[in-house]
Symmetry: C2
Subunit: 162 residues, 2 copies
Amino acid sequence: MTTAPGTTPDLSGVPDAELLRLDHQVCFSLHAASRAFGGFYRQALKGLGLTYSQYLVMLVLWEHGPQPVKGIGDRLQLDSGTLSPLLKRLEAAGLVSRERSREDERSVLIDLTDEGARLRERALSVPRGVLDATGLSLDEVLGLQDVLGRLTAALGEAADAT
Amino acid sequence: MTTAPGTTPDLSGVPDAELLRLDHQVCFSLHAASRAFGGFYRQALKGLGLTYSQYLVMLVLWEHGPQPVKGIGDRLQLDSGTLSPLLKRLEAAGLVSRERSREDERSVLIDLTDEGARLRERALSVPRGVLDATGLSLDEVLGLQDVLGRLTAALGEAADAT
DNA sequence: CACAACTAAGTTGCGCACAACTCAATTGGG
DNA sequence: CCCAATTGAGTTGTGCGCAACTTAGTTGTG
């Protein structure tokens, strides 16, 4: 599926040059929002000694428990090229353990250390500050998530089809 | 201004643990959408020999003409640490020229080469493909831009206030 | 059983984002 | 006029994201 016939965006009448400007704005605003979010988290997480991406990994472990690298990668859509060094850093920081599975020697199980589990308590106060700072209502947050989710899915499909 | 009194998000009643889950989803979906966008552009721009960020810089030059590094940085919210090496690569690719200004010897003027200007013709076809692939209507695109813009501004302000 | 296909994790290399810094040019206040 | 503060560009170092690759373990098929 490339584009559902009934849902096709009404861009046919818009000239190319105009689209180039619009495109500029769309990809820029997404890019900028993502970096602004990242910058804000950098601040908020500095006290915990975590980067934004490390925080995402910890969220997965806090919420879903021990995971193989593959499991974390599936949930965050990240590959081993990104996760392997990141997890080594989390291990070096004493927050997670890495143990090769006995059932399947290919996979490595990531688990929280006591210190990693304790960190959750301190992390609990972070999201309220962030969500407050966005100035968005709960509805807007949910709406944003919906649009972004569809966007990601659509782009993923389109990329696969290529 | 931190939060407009009348617009304060109604998050007061939501427990911390729930917020942690919600936060997970918000920052993840934004992160994922940004990367999905990047991945799609990587594909679309491969033929032009540009990366996503290089494309953003070219868009600025195509739209606004010759700019000092500072000007590009202001428009894209990027600093010289990111732009300097990026512009060197664009120069090496023969797309832009870098010339130190005579009026102010501190600033370096970036201009399109003929080849860089010509590349615009080939870039014109890119955004339609991207916007099509998103599967979003024009209204949704504009709405998304609005929310993201407010989000970025709010996070920027909040970060400054810290 | 043997061997090809696949899978999980890791490594390497490149470009971007950002903090912290240097250096030179410019500006402004005493 | 002079010197301190500011500004624009660049450099260095760290971490992320991804493509392309390697290595080792597992699975499926003849």
